[in-house]
C-alpha cells in the first residue's frame, strides 16, 4: 500500500525583504514602522517548505497539504492571491501578529492548537514542515516547540532534502556547519522538518490551482480566530536592525574566481 502523508506546513508572513524595515517601540511593544502598509510575502523558509510539501504530496497520491499560518488575516489575504496559485493546499488561519516580536512559546501554542483542530488529521501520517529560520526575527524555536506540544520527537532542522524509500522510511539531509550536510534516517511519520532552502524552484503561477485553493481560503480567512497571545513574561529593552551597510560596486570585467576570492578575503577579515 503506498505511503500517504498529511503534511502541515507552518508559515507566517513577513514584510517583503526589499522594504525598509525600521523597528520602532510602540505602545504594546516593539513593531516595525508602517508595518501594516508594507507588502508582505510568505516567510521565505516556509515558502520553500510549502513547495517541498506540495511536491512530496504529488509524489505520494492521497497525501494532503495544509498551510497553518499565524498572521494578520487581512494581510494574509493579499499574500494568498499570489501564493494560492503556486501549489494546492488547504489554509488554516490564526489571526495574530506577524512582526516577529510575539512570544515564541505562545506562538507555538497557538499554532499547535490550530493543528490539533484540523478535522480528521491522522497524526500517524503527520509531517510537520516549516522554516528552520524566519525572516521576521528568527528565534528558530517555534517549529521545535510545536513538535514538542504535539508529541513529535523526530525533529530535523536545516533540511535541504527529504527522500522516502520504498518502505516509507525517511532519509533527510540537514545542514550542519562548514557547508556540510548530515544524513539522517527515521522510520517514517510523524516527524518535524524545519526546511532550509530545499531543492525546488518556485513553481509558476497556475490560476486554475489558485481558483481551486480559493474556495477554501476565503472561508478560512473569514473564520479565523484571534490568537490568544497575552505577551506576559516577555519584554524587550530595545530593538534595532542589524548594523550593515549595503556597499554596491559594479564590476563588469572581473571573472567569477576573482569575485569569489575577494569575497572570501573579506569574510576572513
Amino acid at each position: 500500500m503506498p505511503t500517504t502523508y498529511q503534511i502541515v506546513v507552518c508559515g507566517g508572513i513577513v514584510p517583503d525583504p526589499l522594504q525598509s524595515l525600521e523597528p520602532v517601540m510602540g505602545p504594546t511593544g516593539p513593531a516595525l514602522k508602517n508595518e501594516m502598509m508594507l507588502p508582505s510575502v510568505l516567510d521565505p523558509w516556509a515558502w520553500h517548505a510549502l513547495f517541498e510539501a506540495a511536491d512530496l504530496a504529488k509524489r505520494h497520491p492521497g497525501s494532503k497539504v495544509w498551510l497553518v499560518s499565524m498572521s494578520p488575516k487581512a494581510k494574509l489575504q493579499q499574500v494568498m492571491m499570489g501564493l494560492a496559485q503556486k501549489v494546492p493546499f488547504e489554509l488554516v488561519v490564526v489571526d495574530g501578529p506577524a512582526s516577529g516580536f510575539a512570544d515564541a512559546v505562545e506562538t507555538a501554542a497557538a499554532l499547535a492548537g490550530a493543528i490539533e483542530g484540523i478535522p480528521d488529521l491522522d497524526r500517524s501520517k503527520l509531517l510537520l514542515f516549516g522554516g528552520w529560520q524566519s525572516a521576521s526575527r528568527g528565534t528558530g524555536a517555534v517549529l521545535q516547540m510545536i513538535g514538542e506540544i504535539l508529541g513529535i520527537d523526530e525533529q530535523f532542522q536545516g533540511v535541504d532534502k527529504l527522500t522516502v524509500d520504498d518502505s516509507g522510511g525517511l532519509e533527510i539531509l540537514e545542514r550542519i556547519e562548514a557547508g556540510a550536510w548530515q544524513k539522517s534516517r527515521c522510520a517514517g511519520a510523524p516527524a518535524v522538518l524545519g526546511w532550509a532552502t530545499g531543492e525546488l524552484p518556485e513553481p509558476p503561477n497556475n490560476p486554475q490551482i489558485g481558483m481551486q485553493n480559493m474556495r477554501g481560503i476565503m472561508p478560512a480567512l473569514q473564520q479565523a480566530k484571534p490568537a490568544a497571545l497575552s505577551g506576559e513574561g516577555l519584554s524587550y529593552d530595545s530593538v534595532e536592525s542589524p548594523k550593515q551597510r549595503r556597499e554596491t560596486r559594479v564590476e563588469t570585467e572581473m571573472d567569477a574566481d576573482a569575485i569569489a576570492d575577494e569575497i572570501a578575503a573579506w569574510l576572513k577579515g
Binding site: 502598509m37 494578520p72 487581512a74 492571491m81 499570489g82 509558476p204 497556475n206
Partner: protein, 685 residues
C-alpha cells in the same frame, strides 16, 4: 490611532478599493500573476538589453512561456474554454496590461495581441470557430503534450490602405473554387503592416474586401500557416519602441474554405453574404481594447514615482555631506521644485489610472448588455436603421433612468428605477453613450498627455534619465508612450470619435448630473468645486459653439471643423480623468475604514489623495478655461456682450475655485519628503 503623514506608497489594499476590485479575488490573482511575470521575466529581458533588437529571438520567446505558465494566455478565455475568470474580461485585461506596463509595455502589447487575434472569433465567430481556435490557443494543461497556437490580428495594411481609416481595406477575396453543392474555396490576398505576434503566429484573423461579384462586401477571415499558398511573415518592423513585442509586415496569398469567414455566411442568390462585415467585427473588438492601451501609459507614470524619489534622495550619497544632514537624507528634495514636479507626474498617473479603470468597469457591465441587446434585436428583426430608431425612442427613458440613478435611493421611485434598470435597450443606450466618451477619452488623454508627463518624469532623473540603465526604465517608457498614443487608433481618430459622442443628449444629461453631484461634494476638499465649474464652462461652450457660426456664416461645431471640435474633445478628457480620480479618492475614504490593514493610515492616504485631486481638478479646470476662451473668442471678430458676460462669469467661477490649490501642492510635495520607500526597486534595472 491614525497618523496623518503618508507612510508608504499606496499598495494593493489601496488600489483594490479605489479601482473597485476588493471583492474579486480572480482579478487579484491575475494581478499577482502579471506582476510576477513583469518584475521577473520581463524586467530581466529589458535589463539585459533584449529590447535592443527588432528581431524576435529565443530570449523574447521566454515571454510566451511565462504568459502561458502564469495564466495570462488563457486570461481572455471563458471558463468553459479553459480560462479562469467568469464573465467579461475588460477589467482583467486592463489590470494585466497595467501590471506588465509597469515594467515594459511591449510585453503588455504582446500579451494583448494574442487576445486581439482571438477577439474577432470570440466576439463574432461561429460556435465551431470559437471552440476550435480557443481550444488550440489554450496552453497545454497538466498531462497534455502539445504546443499552443498563437494568433495575430491583421487589419493594418501598407499605405494607402487601411490604417487611420479602417474602412479602406486593400486585402482582397475571390472565389477560387466552388464545387457543386460543396464549400466554396476562397483566394485571400492580404498584405499587413505593423502586425503584432507575426513572428510566431500560427493563425491570423485578417480583414479583406470582396474582389468577386459572388462575394458581398468586406469580412474577416481566419488564415492558418499551413493553408495552401503563401504565408510570408514579412520583414520585421524597425520599431524604436515596444521591442519586446513581435511586429512584422506580412504577405498572405492563400486558399481557405469559406467556413473560415468569421461568423459564417449565407448564400443568397448565388452570392456569399458574410454574416458580419469587417467593420462590425472590429467595432466589437476595438470598442474595448483601447482601454488597456490607455492604462499602459498610466502604469508608466505611476511606476516612475518610486525610482524618482529614490534618485532624488540619494543624489548626494557618497559626497561630503554626512548621514543625518539634510543634503544626505533628502538630497534633491531639499528643493521644492523637484517634489512639486513629481507630484504633477503622480497626479496625472492617478487620474489616468482612475479614468481607465472606470472605463474598464463600465465595459464589463456593458458587454452582457450588448449581447442581450443583439439577441433581442435579432428576435424582433431590428437591424440597421430600424435598430437605431428603436434605440433613439428609448432616449427619454434613459434620461429618466439617469435622473433616478443620481437621486438618493431613499427618495427615488424604486419600482420605476427597477423597471428601467431591467430594460436592456435603456441600458444599452446608456452604456453605448458612455463608452463613446470614456473609451476614446482614456486612449486619447492617458497616452497623449501621459507621454508629455513621462518626459517630465525622465527630466526629473537628470542625465540618468537619458541612459539605458536609468532605474525604472523611464526613458524606454517615455518612448513607448508615443506608440501607445498612435496604435489602435491615433489621437485624431479618438478626437473624431469624441466629436460624435460628446454632443449626445444622454452624455450631456449625465454631465449635468455630475455637476450637481460635484457641487454637493464641493466642501470635501477634493477639488470638486473646480471640476463642477470646469464642466459648467465646457457645457456652456459646447452649447455656444453648436449654436453659433463664424463671421462667414459657417457652423462652428462641425465634424470638418477640427480646430473647434478637437480642442473641445481634449477639454472634456481633462475633466473626465480628474472626475474619476475624485470619485476613486472618495471611495477610498469611504470604504477604506472597512479594511483593517488601512486603519492606521487611512487618514494619511485620504488627505494625500484629496490634495492630489485638488491639484488635478484645478489643472483640468484651468486647461478647460484656456481652451474654451480660445474657442469662444477666437472665432469672432468681436464678442457679443451678453455672451461674453455669461462666459466671463463661468470663467471667474473656475478661477475662484482654485483657492488653496497651491497649498495642496505644498502639502502633497512635503509628503514626498517623508514617505517611506523600499530599499530597492523590486525589479532589475
Amino acid at each position: 490611532m491614525s497618523d496623518t503623514s503618508l507612510p508608504t506608497l499606496p499598495g494593493d489594499d489601496v488600489r483594490q478599493i479605489m479601482w473597485r476590485f476588493s471583492d474579486r479575488f480572480d482579478l487579484q490573482m491575475a494581478v499577482q500573476s502579471a506582476r510576477g511575470v513583469a518584475r521577473g521575466t520581463v524586467a530581466r529581458l529589458v535589463a539585459d538589453g533584449v529590447r535592443n533588437t527588432h528581431e524576435w529571438n529565443d530570449e523574447k520567446g521566454k515571454l510566451l512561456t511565462a504568459f502561458d505558465e502564469s495564466g495570462l494566455t488563457s486570461l481572455y478565455m471563458d471558463v468553459e474554454q479553459g480560462g479562469f475568470i467568469e464573465g467579461p474580461k475588460n477589467m482583467a485585461m486592463s489590470l494585466v496590461a497595467f501590471e506588465l506596463s509597469w515594467v515594459d509595455a511591449g510585453a503588455a502589447t504582446g500579451s494583448l495581441a494574442g487576445n486581439l487575434a482571438l477577439a474577432p472569433i470570440h466576439e463574432k465567430g461561429t460556435d465551431e470557430q470559437r471552440r476550435f481556435y480557443m481550444g488550440k490557443a489554450l496552453p497545454p494543461q497538466p498531462g497534455e503534450d502539445r504546443v499552443p497556437w498563437r494568433g495575430a490580428f491583421a487589419l493594418t495594411e501598407p499605405l494607402p490602405f487601411v490604417g487611420v481609416d479602417t474602412g479602406v481595406v486593400g486585402g482582397k477575396a475571390k472565389i477560387a473554387d466552388w464545387p457543386e453543392g460543396g464549400e466554396p474555396v476562397l483566394q485571400i490576398d492580404k498584405r499587413g503592416r505593423f502586425i503584432t505576434n507575426m513572428d510566431f503566429a500560427n493563425f491570423v484573423t485578417a480583414a479583406v474586401d470582396s474582389d468577386d461579384e459572388r462575394i458581398k462586401g468586406t469580412f474577416m477571415v481566419i488564415l492558418e500557416e499551413t493553408d495552401p499558398g503563401t504565408f510570408d511573415r514579412g520583414a520585421p518592423t524597425l520599431k524604436l519602441v515596444h521591442q519586446l513585442s513581435s511586429t512584422r509586415d506580412p504577405v498572405f496569398s492563400q486558399q481557405v474554405p469559406a467556413s473560415r469567414i468569421i461568423g459564417g455566411y449565407d448564400v443568397v442568390d448565388g452570392v456569399i453574404v458574410p454574416k458580419f462585415n469587417h467593420s462590425e467585427v472590429i467595432a466589437s473588438v476595438f470598442h474595448r481594447t483601447r482601454i488597456p492601451v490607455g492604462l499602459m501609459t498610466a502604469a508608466k507614470l505611476l511606476s516612475a514615482v518610486e525610482p524618482v524619489i529614490r534618485y532624488q534622495r540619494s543624489r548626494f550619497h557618497g559626497g561630503e555631506a554626512g548621514e543625518g544632514s539634510p543634503r544626505y537624507d533628502l538630497g534633491l528634495q531639499v528643493n521644492e521644485d523637484v517634489t512639486h514636479r513629481l507630484i504633477d507626474v503622480w497626479a496625472t498617473g492617478e487620474a489616468a489610472a482612475s479614468v481607465g479603470f472606470e472605463a474598464a468597469r463600465q465595459a464589463d457591465i456593458f458587454d452582457p448588455v450588448e449581447r442581450e441587446k443583439d439577441r433581442i434585436c435579432a428576435e424582433q428583426g431590428l437591424t440597421g436603421r430600424k435598430q437605431m430608431m428603436a434605440l433613439r425612442k428609448k432616449e427619454p427613458e434613459v434620461l429618466e433612468y439617469l435622473d433616478l440613478l443620481y437621486t438618493d435611493e431613499a427618495e427615488r421611485d424604486a419600482a420605476r428605477f427597477a423597471d428601467l434598470d431591467a430594460d436592456i435597450l435603456v441600458q444599452f443606450a446608456l452604456g453605448d453613450a458612455r463608452a463613446n466618451i470614456m473609451n476614446p477619452a482614456v486612449k486619447l488623454w492617458n497616452t497623449g498627455h501621459g507621454a508629455t508627463m513621462m518626459r517630465e518624469a525622465v527630466a526629473l532623473m537628470g542625465g540618468y534619465g537619458t541612459t539605458e540603465d536609468c532605474p525604472g526604465f523611464l526613458p524606454q517608457k517615455w518612448m513607448d508612450a508615443q506608440l501607445e498614443a498612435t496604435y489602435e487608433g491615433p489621437e485624431a481618430v479618438q478626437r473624431r470619435h469624441l466629436t460624435l459622442g460628446m454632443t449626445s443628449r444622454i452624455f450631456r444629461h449625465e454631465v449635468d448630473l455630475w455637476i450637481r453631484e460635484l457641487e454637493a461634494q464641493a466642501g470635501d476638499g477634493y477639488g470638486a468645486k473646480s471640476l463642477a465649474a470646469g464642466f459648467k464652462l465646457w457645457s456652456w461652450t459646447t452649447d455656444y459653439l453648436q449654436g453659433h457660426n463664424d463671421p462667414d456664416g459657417k457652423k462652428l461645431y462641425h465634424g470638418k471643423r477640427q480646430a473647434v471640435t478637437f480642442p473641445l474633445a481634449d477639454a472634456i478628457c481633462w475633466l473626465l480623468s480628474a472626475r474619476s480620480l475624485v470619485q476613486d479618492s472618495i471611495e477610498l475614504k469611504t470604504k477604506g475604514a472597512e479594511n483593517p490593514v488601512l486603519a492606521e493610515s487611512l487618514d494619511a492616504f485620504s488627505s494625500f489623495y484629496a490634495d492630489l485631486c485638488k491639484l488635478q481638478a484645478a489643472r483640468a479646470a484651468g486647461e478647460v478655461s484656456r481652451i474654451c476662451a480660445d474657442l469662444v473668442y477666437g472665432f469672432q471678430e468681436s464678442a457679443d456682450e451678453a455672451d461674453a458676460a455669461e462666459f466671463a462669469a463661468l470663467r471667474e467661477a473656475v478661477d475662484r475655485s482654485l483657492a488653496g490649490t497651491e497649498l495642496a501642492r505644498d502639502r502633497a510635495a512635503d509628503a514626498l519628503t517623508h514617505i517611506m520607500i523600499p530599499e530597492a526597486l523590486d525589479y532589475p534595472a
